[in-house]
């Protein structure tokens, strides 16, 4: 399949990162050179190939595509992409390498207890978990309303960012340490909680 022929619809279907938006799409008019970043079309093609066989798991929320990175292995002779997937049901990180010339998976590595950085979709889910927490959710809403002067519209309004928290109690689970900047620039103190995406709940840290 000629990757340039793929439409942008696939990309949006996977809800990938905004950076692959209109600006990048416009640039993708020419065929990529070997050292170029992935084009939106290539990301879409690699996403489709890498998630084949996982559609039901993804729909059920037990597995997700985190992001697609250009494979920069200098021994590689063809242009390739690495798709990062996380299986929350079995707590496994899966990296599938896709040959962009053939749109086929040419390698797969998977392991438990290994984490890749959070994706933006995961951060959106962490924000939902935070607001759904019976104790913390109301406090977050109150802090937001006080800072903004109006009620929180949706979880997306928190613009939550995160890092992986790999230590106790999250050695086996995928946990996000969160940062939330309220309107006006003040930060919520989220330093002692994490969003456990494997258990789908907020956990407290003891230190």
């Amino acid at each position: 399949m000629a990757v340039g022929a793929t439409t942008g619809a696939l990309l949006w279907g996977h809800g990938l990162w905004q950076r692959s938006g209109p600006e990048a799409a416009q640039r993708a008019q020419r065929a990529p050179e070997p050292g170029d970043p992935l084009t939106p079309q290539e990301i879409a093609a690699a996403s489709a190939a890498a998630t084949s066989g996982f559609t039901e798991h993804m729909a059920a929320g037990s597995l997700d595509l985190l992001y697609v990175e250009r494979d920069d292995d200098k021994a590689a002779t063809s242009r390739r992409a690495e798709a990062y997937l996380y299986d929350y049901a079995h707590d496994r990180l899966i990296v599938r390498t896709v040959d962009l010339g053939t749109s086929r998976i040419v390698a797969e590595r998977a392991a438990s207890g290994r984490q890749a950085p959070p994706s933006q979709r995961e951060e959106a889910r962490a924000a939902v978990l935070l607001l759904a927490d019976p104790k913390l959710g109301p406090k977050v809403r109150q802090a937001y309303a006080t800072a903004a002067g109006h009620r929180l519209g949706s979880a997306a309004d928190l613009h939550l960012q995160s890092l992986i928290y790999p230590r106790t109690p999250c050695e086996a689970h995928r946990c996000l340490q969160m940062f939330v900047r309220l309107p006006g620039g003040r930060w919520l103190d989220t330093s002692r909680i994490v969003a456990d995406l494997s258990a789908k709940k907020i956990r407290s840290l003891e230190w």
Binding site: E33, D36, A110, R114, P118, L163, I164
Partner: protein, 375 residues
Amino acid sequence: MRPLLALVALLALSPVPAAAAATTPTCGEPYRIDRTLPDGARWTMCWEMRNIEGLTLTQVAYTPKNGRAVGVLRSASLAQIQVPYDSGEPRYEDIGALGAAAIPLRAQDCPGGERPDQYVCVTTRPRGHAYFKDEPYASAQGDDLVVFSAFQVGWYTYLAEWAFGDTGTITPRVGATGSLADFTTTPAYGWPIGVGRHHFEESHSHNIFWRLDFDIDGRSGDRVEQYDFSGSGTTRRTMRRTALTRETAAVYRPMRWWRVVDYGVRNADGHAVSWEIDNSGSAQYRGPASERFTHADLYVTNYRACERLASENPTPRCADSVDKYVNGEVVRDPVVWVNVDFHHVVRDEDHDPMPTHWQGFHITPRDVTSTNPYR
């Protein structure tokens, strides 16, 4: 001039076609950087905003004024920013999907430069005196090509900057600005900011790792050497060279430096082309046994595509930190990991927006040109 000598002289002055082809970056607009500095030196490279490492520079090549192009780095990027607080917790690892944390740059954030993308600035910056002497009078000013991006990670804004000098120097550094975390602690772990002695803001470290895949005119032939100069309280200093032929975790000491050298690539004097690494500006943070990646200041590993970050490496079925990449393998294609640490004991001056504090190291050409690269 005899024909053979004429040919040698021509080769010394002109770009060698084979090498030039190897140093032409295989990327197109807007990802290709090709900048000739006012002095005449030229740098070429590709940039990419990767999801995990953020700003990544590949296929970096340097052409001295009147010289030939030489490949320097196959790839260069940040490889971790660990931020442990002095009381022991919290301990953040700030990479982080840096690509998604990139901050759009405005025109004033990129003075005198261009933004090939809203997240990347490419500019030229004066560097002061290139040389200066009184008799016979000679004076010139130097310049750096600067490539940088900014990332918002929690409270901090990180400025990831690479400066490429007209003499072939490379100066990677990271500035931390933005806001303090506002963690209050006891006097043993912090410094009072604000009025009186109530709010002790917690001291912390930024332990930054860079990954540098040197390929001096291609991936073959590169070696790493460590240089030490023995003698303390004595009149003599004796040079000792140690070839790091196997993977190594090296600790910095005063009067110690390293170089990546390719004995198959020579300057016009017949000396091997190399780049020297000076990591004398680190606070040398050493974490607990569970963070052994913090226990050395420079690591040399044999190239493996799966070894990407100094800790929390995101690749399954690959070691998870740089100390474990070092496992006795013979180094045929060296990757150098440089660890520079900054201990931030907060001051009153660090109130919002916190003034930028910088940390980085120096990479200096050694025998890339056979004479002053400005002449």
